[in-house]
Symmetry: C2
Subunit: 746 residues, 2 copies
Amino acid sequence: MSNYVGQNIPRNDGWDKATGNGMFTHDVKVPGMLYAAVLRSPHAHARIISIDTSEAEALAGVYAVATYKNTTRKFFSTSVAMVTTIPGEEPVLDQQVFPEIVRYIGDEVAAVAAKTEKIAREALKYIKVKYEILPAIYDPIEVMKEGAPQVQPNISPGNNVCGGPIEFGLGDFAQGWAEGEVFSEITVVLPRVKQAQLETHAAVATYANGYLKVICTTQTIHPTKMMLAYIFNIPESKIIVENPPYVGGGFGVRIGISGKAELIASQLAMLSHQPVKYVYTREEDFLASDTRHGGYITCRLAAKKDGTFVALDTKAILNTGAYATFGVELVGVTGACGTAGTYRIPNLHYLGYPVYTNQQTAGAFRGFGTPQGTMAVETAVDDIAKQLNMDPIELRKKNTVKTGDSWWFPFPVGSTDLNKCIDAAAQSINWKEKRGKKQVGKIRRGVGIAAGTHVSNAAPFCVDYNAIYLRIEGDGTLHVASGIPEIGAGSTTGILQIAADVIGVPMDTIHMEFGSTASSPFDIGSHATRTLYTVGHLLTLVGKELKEDILSWTADFLNNNRLYIESNPKIQCDRMSNSGWPNVEAGSLNMNEGIICGENIDIPLYTIAYEAHIRGKQFIATKCTVPPNSPPWHAHTAEVEVDMETGMIRVLKIAAAHDIGKAINPILVEGQIEGGVAMGVGYAIREEMTYVEDKGFYNSGYHKYMLPTIDMMPEIDTILLESNDPSGPFGAKGIGECGLIPTAQL
Amino acid sequence: MSNYVGQNIPRNDGWDKATGNGMFTHDVKVPGMLYAAVLRSPHAHARIISIDTSEAEALAGVYAVATYKNTTRKFFSTSVAMVTTIPGEEPVLDQQVFPEIVRYIGDEVAAVAAKTEKIAREALKYIKVKYEILPAIYDPIEVMKEGAPQVQPNISPGNNVCGGPIEFGLGDFAQGWAEGEVFSEITVVLPRVKQAQLETHAAVATYANGYLKVICTTQTIHPTKMMLAYIFNIPESKIIVENPPYVGGGFGVRIGISGKAELIASQLAMLSHQPVKYVYTREEDFLASDTRHGGYITCRLAAKKDGTFVALDTKAILNTGAYATFGVELVGVTGACGTAGTYRIPNLHYLGYPVYTNQQTAGAFRGFGTPQGTMAVETAVDDIAKQLNMDPIELRKKNTVKTGDSWWFPFPVGSTDLNKCIDAAAQSINWKEKRGKKQVGKIRRGVGIAAGTHVSNAAPFCVDYNAIYLRIEGDGTLHVASGIPEIGAGSTTGILQIAADVIGVPMDTIHMEFGSTASSPFDIGSHATRTLYTVGHLLTLVGKELKEDILSWTADFLNNNRLYIESNPKIQCDRMSNSGWPNVEAGSLNMNEGIICGENIDIPLYTIAYEAHIRGKQFIATKCTVPPNSPPWHAHTAEVEVDMETGMIRVLKIAAAHDIGKAINPILVEGQIEGGVAMGVGYAIREEMTYVEDKGFYNSGYHKYMLPTIDMMPEIDTILLESNDPSGPFGAKGIGECGLIPTAQL
């Protein structure tokens, strides 16, 4: 029964956001709150020889100055990988709140908490630091050379590869290569790009009586709580991490700690004994928090003359910057999803190096390594098509993996409508007519295609699970408590659509409590296109249990309270028959839209909930599960116009066809895809973080970072294909990251 | 295993309260918050003919003026009885936020929300009200007379008895009376007294997007949420009721709505579209919120010559004031606990009238009707002793109910050490030496005794149940979420002691999340001496389930991960034997202080919790139960000095012996008893609300209400007797209200 799933229900955060009533971390004020500012390294690699904070501390209005000398020296990772690494593997813990050796221009040297932001910034000028300059290195190829300077000698002694390399394969590459008849070898050089989310990193921390409370912009409140517990040696039970509840965009940049906002605010709160708010300036956000990984990917693809792919070898060297954060995991995904995911290739080899440089750290960003791998492989596929003079559409369709295929996941492909996506995207762009048309003149047009896949979450390669509390209130309305955030994707709306249908209650009687570790059990949070898919999956299980409890209690109530029911005008239930008061089996009852029904039975849930209440019973349920992981699939076609004189590119149209399993809320799915396309267009043709030696990255804000603007947006034709995945909630799969992945490969 | 139960653990709210860091509703500020003031009726009974708010509305800074004309007209009760009346009975719903007919001096006529408190108060002067004066009536005996003016003609047509009378009996009173050989008939006239808790009623309400959030002083967040949902027709799931988290005393006065603070703040928030804070002035708190019931109780007790009680008839007429609130339930408890509870009396009759008058409402106050009944019966018992020339100690001990006796509860007496209490209290006061000593002169001394019982909660006579969430965090620390408040009794400390012992974890690794409906499932809240007893009882059940889950998972983990465990230095577990890797049964494991142990096994819970986490498992549990209800017992002796010229009474010593089953935290139990004794001393010799016709009660604040001060406090010898009740958690029973009950009968 589906009253809500599949409908374009308006998002439940709409009112709050449209009226300005919704609270973001930037809006948060708590009594007695101080403001923080951070002194950052002007050097790409240096050892702090001395640091004198006495003048800054003496400034009126300054409450605390934090440096490596008076704060925790614990090593950690700001990425959630720190607490989501599966058994048998070890996370790379290479960061400190304030390192003694700074490793990029922007690295944290000291922080001040003061009565006002202005005083805090002023105080930074009074901190005297002496540095010993160390040799710095920037290029991923250079850092891998023998004798290159060491960025993290303790983590990767003798080289600059952080916690890697990642290597895996299928079949026998050498043998497969030998069987090939046409070959392509291509290398892509990948730029760094920035998430550029609207709300900069921010946190407000309060520390008192051994309790730490942090209101912040993280996408992963529960893992962040675990990380803070470890870093500051506080029991997890005594830490609350909260979104306030809204987060102004995520895109991966705060899976774990938001830059270092939670850490610096907490550390200053501990030193000053006052609440402390730390908001990244736009410049800090651009220059001192994770970017997407740039680097080099070389890929060799061999095919038979009929187009059958036989072997693929990929080598990726990605620049993770000064610290690992997600470097290791991401380079794995580049291989698994980006290169090994889309096509049946019996002989595969992948070798990925996440390498350290003395640059700003790269980490998670929508697509998490998959776009990089996709760019390389899809370019090689086009090259093979060209060599074979085959339509790239046909070549792709011939080689795509099919439902039931074995592949890199430890279970077969659950569902794929990828070939339908390819056809639909081709048809929308008018592929047959436009492909291969010879262009002349100044302005020339062309069409292209890219296909691909991603994940619906991180299981079983990383820790990935959800728990949830459900309860029916005394008036039959439903409370759903989950530790996910609302980073703007609308997940909290989709989840309620699923809850309403699974349990059988009107959606407007449901409240979703989210974004606080105080009110929800563990949930890994929002990342890896997972939120709706995994929480929805859990809801189908725990919601069924809750419903069964309600129906079973109702049957008992109906069977055992004849006199009460007959004399109670509030209960509409004509259960009399010739034989008296027939027994009701729970299994014969159902509930839809808050009405419990069976033969001669038609009782509102609010009546049953209140009857249960006055008998000392609340319907409550909780459950914890590891989700399945059935990937989504996608194919984008694009029509592009190039000015042959200026080199300027205009993207005229993107046809974005996605196998999303089932669109729980189609308009929200379209929104995710359109947003992804916009980011992908920027990635493909405009955006790049440009490094200037001895100065750092040039792109210190929106004015220096060329995001595409609305006038550059192509026409977008979003096509949703529903393969009804057997594992997903109501057949759904993930979608959040997918719009970007094939777009970047224009 | 008991590491914490029975220990004097410092209370976990101590730091917050000692440092001033703890937040109370009075401290709460939210952005854009307005302040409320209330116009109250100057008449004891009147109909509002016209009300003109236009001038008040025109005042600069006024955002909204609420009257009966623009607010809900729904009838309700401010007492929790509104949502805790058991099946087959109906609560008395006789209140409105702003009634058109005002029924006591102080009744709510209008309210203003304004930018400042000063403007709000000023605006009240501009509201023009015309009243038609109606006949008013004040004395409980007078109101029962034929033709008396009607206070609530719709609720009790033809008389002023609200929802009653309450009548019950055991045996055959007339026959029992006929068997009697000595007889006592006494009437006690009971004063009204006031809770006089430190924090006045207060609420901060925010209403936006269909959601209502109320931060307030209620003792019962979940029932209050239900009440607000009903009164304002909002889904329960869309209301959050929160203590901030502390409440400055309860004593029953906010079981349900705090005066009308939550209602008026909410109603003004709805009208003004701004958050509104309403704090009762001390005068409002004294003159416009529930008091204890005063009135008349006549009791006739018959005994055999050997002292055996044979019959008791009690008639109570208690003044519930203008509205019922808890009138009906309380008059029932006066009979059940106050008159029928303490002694084996085979023939009992009780008739209780809660009657309306045009006075301030009486409701719940520590002891909830039991002190009133106890005063009457204990006076009669002393009279019988005098007639028989028997030691009142011996007469009482001869007649007290014994463990296993049938009585007014629908199950036998679970445990009672009442006779031991009587002996201990007698011994402490040096009864044998001091009793009956003829006194002469101006200053004379005497000793007295009173015994009694109460309840450990309201089940099965009212709805009374608890639900709870437990979860083990990734570092093995424990999160306990319950909807109880911390009204100052220290329950949140005692609960953690029980949790620590039941589950087997160190107490300082536990966090108690309380006082918010957002983070906890239903709990009826704090009333009826119930909090520690009932939540503790639930914890013994759900804590056991959680522990079993942990041990069972641990056994599976140990059995199935030999290589992992052997290669993991973090897991200290030498499980090798000659036969290899022996299978572990979950039943062979135990956990104490966070260490899981068995043969050759000794693993910290933090290790198991993290190993579970990285395998996608959190240990979570939830449960909902109706508690058992085994009453506590108590006997107080007192030595009192009377100045025969002035009539001044000094209480020299109270020996307070209590069968509390088991003292979970003895020093907190003693604190409860000492506080109860202090209140009881005031009730007995100093406090009284004095009514002045046409003016209302005289006692508008601490300066006009004679609370006993520390220099009037007697020496208190608190004696704890532990009968180890079979139903209670670790043998405990309730205690919160009991210190007061026998004290009042000095």
